[in-house]
Symmetry: C2
Subunit: 414 residues, 2 copies
């Protein structure tokens, strides 16, 4: 991206009422715009981050054999009445102008929809197992949406549903999904904690959440400092200072953000929508289901809550909107050449050729927070000044050393 042909508007002052750091920082750095409470626009820079997260999710979903599809957001009143979830308060109702009554709810989860669909397509044990996901904008009536991307009225979710012929098969896949989720969060730079959580009315066992320790989180977990065993405070009998039963570690209470959750649903929705299969003996059984969610926007917000300093955001490499922020002191032809050279090597670059002072560009580079800042300056002769955003260390390197540093991730060079 060459900034004179791109859109980036960082802001000195933002008038956000949001209490959350992620919203303030992302608005200041020009990644998002707040349309109204809990409702955000993603500017091009922010949308690239979302696409990078989606790319990771798609790869890891593909690795566990899940297929991508797309269901509607308009969910008919009738099927939500069938499952008993029509009257849940967090659902927005959708109505025609000329009517008082609503025909639809805006989907905030899709167990009903997918169960109804596959009741027409799953007939035999040969059709199982099956795992389908979508990456979709969802809607939730949140009266207190003040946490930026952590809790919105409109948000992007990845929701996965799996269908099985037995509980054993469900739990085998459930564990596969758990591993895939931990890979996804790790690739996004996050250390997620697999946390035992409430079962609730619609599951056959406890559910699990993926929690990231963070002061801005709305959840509280009891987690072992040694083995990482964790339980959500809502269901836990553990207390801070307790000895962990799984190892010799000590239990601590931490604030955390839930970035994902997985549910062993069992037969609940299969019963509601008559989703049955014939087993090898020709007997009809209800399909056993699981559902699994990741908040894509929330993931982005969590990363910003965790990775920042007083100057701005510090993006993990794999989801950064680009790897390199390039500034040239003299605006000479070399900068454009280096830009093309790096891009041809597969290294994404933001080249700041705007008519701004060097001071403003340096400030924006830190605020936007790409992993590497490169400066071309006559005083450095053939060397390039490289700053690693994560520790703000500065080095003078040759072009080849720069490539080596970025591509090989060999950050201990010299």
């Amino acid at each position: 991206m060459i900034l004179s042909n791109f859109f980036i508007k960082t802001q000195k002052n933002i008038s956000s009422e949001d209490i959350s750091y992620n919203a303030k920082l992302l608005e200041k750095a020009g990644f998002i715009y707040k349309n109204s409470s809990g409702i955000y626009t993603f500017f091009p820079l922010g949308w690239i981050v979302i696409q990078n997260i989606i790319k990771i999710i798609r790869e890891e979903m593909s690795n566990i054999g899940a297929l991508e599809m797309m269901m509607p957001a308009l969910v008919s009143k009738q099927i939500w009445q069938t499952s008993g979830r029509w009257d849940v308060e967090i659902g927005y109702e959708v109505k025609s102008k000329d009517k008082a009554d609503a025909d639809f709810v805006l989907g905030w989860t899709h167990e009903e929809v997918i169960s109804e669909i596959f009741s027409h397509f799953i007939n035999s044990y040969k059709d199982l197992p099956l795992a389908m996901y979508q990456i979709q904008t969802k809607f939730r009536n949140e009266p207190r949406a003040k946490s930026g991307l952590l809790r919105g009225k409109e948000f992007i979710m990845k929701d996965l549903y799996s269908f099985h012929s037995s509980e054993d098969d469900l739990f085998a896949y459930y564990n596969q999904v758990a591993l895939a989720y931990q890979k996804i969060f790790k690739r996004c730079g996050l250390n997620s904690i697999y946390t035992l959580a409430s079962g609730g009315a619609f599951t056959i066992a406890n559910t699990h959440e993926f929690q990231v320790i963070c002061g801005a989180g709305e959840d509280e977990i009891l987690v072992c400092s040694s083995c990482g065993y964790a339980e959500n405070k809502e269901i836990s009998n553990l207390k801070p200072g307790d000895k962990c039963l799984k190892c010799d570690g000590i239990i601590k209470l931490e604030k955390s953000i839930e970035v994902g959750n997985i549910f062993p649903l069992g037969e609940k929705y299969a019963r509601d929508f008559n989703l049955k299969f014939k087993d090898k003996n020709g007997n009809e059984n209800y399909v056993i289901m699981g559902s699994y969610g990741i908040g894509v926007g929330r993931l982005m917000g969590t990363i910003v809550e965790l990775f920042n300093d007083e100057h701005g955001i510090i993006w993990p490499k794999e989801i950064a909107p680009a790897l390199v922020y390039l500034i040239d002191i003299d605006k000479k032809i070399e900068a454009k050449e280096l830009y093309n050279y790096l891009q041809n090597k597969g290294i994404s670059v933001i080249y700041d050729d705007r008519d701004l002072s060097i001071g403003e560009k340096l400030q924006d580079a830190d605020l936007i927070g790409l992993p590497y800042r490169l400066i071309l300056s006559p005083k450095n002769k053939d060397l390039i000044e490289v700053k690693l955003r994560k520790d703000n260390k500065i080095k003078q390197l040759s072009k080849e050393e720069v490539i080596n540093l970025i591509v090989k991730n060999n950050e201990n060079i010299k």
Copy 2:
């Protein structure tokens, strides 16, 4: 895709009330599922087609310097009142469970939203021109949604908005967008006709539509059989049989589908949302806007309406869910090897290894409609039977000739 690990369920009989051919054929071939009137699910096969169309759109938008962003679907009542469009009947209203009144409309177009946003970010002529687009699910209250993907209550749109300092600059870009649109439709296999259409209250000149001649279309255009000059019947003074003023051709009346439209908006929304810029002399002026839409799902529906025969769909190459449908008579190791070989050459393949009869597989191959059907059979020895779906011609070719045929698009081989 290897079908034993994929989800494809073609249907013999569908109970659709849809009168449209695209819905029937796409449902039968397992690309979509109808959730309710005008509301569809895209199965993996259908979702790949949508992604292929989106890829083409993104490339051509990038070629004209447009940047991708994402605005919310929940549009606040207040800003639609500002523009005077709150009471438009096609807008679905969104309300909380406990309230009678709606707070939001579900966006079916985003002139208001983007004007409000950029009123905070465009200040100077230096910020112009600017072109931003999104690919988003939109919602429209369609009482008679019986045309499948051609007219839905929920549908995927690409909407582009451009911002200029003068009308000249707007119209220069308007023409660039028109060329990009024609490229997009051509890459999707469609011959689109640039058609003069109604201006309406909110534009500064006539708008233009991109119409595709098709008996299933809801529009009617008067088009010259020689030079292709066209006007929408709604605004035209032309009559069938007239001589075209632009050439010696004769005007014909044709039914058609509108796959895209472009609007020279002028200052309407800039005035509503106080979207101004300072020119070189320091004077404040309203920003001049254009808006440009393509119905992504409608494009898919149009392609199916046009390209089919009594056996099924005939996908154009660039948007087909895969290039090759591979069937092996003997289920031997060679089929898997050929699958891997083709995939490694960058040729996408659906390998039908399902436990079905050859007859059923051949039927599904035609119904699903990939450009090339390959059959491995002992009777052919080292040759592969190739069928071109578009003309159903069959040839016996060596592996190298198959590659040549598909990659080099040299369909006149031998």
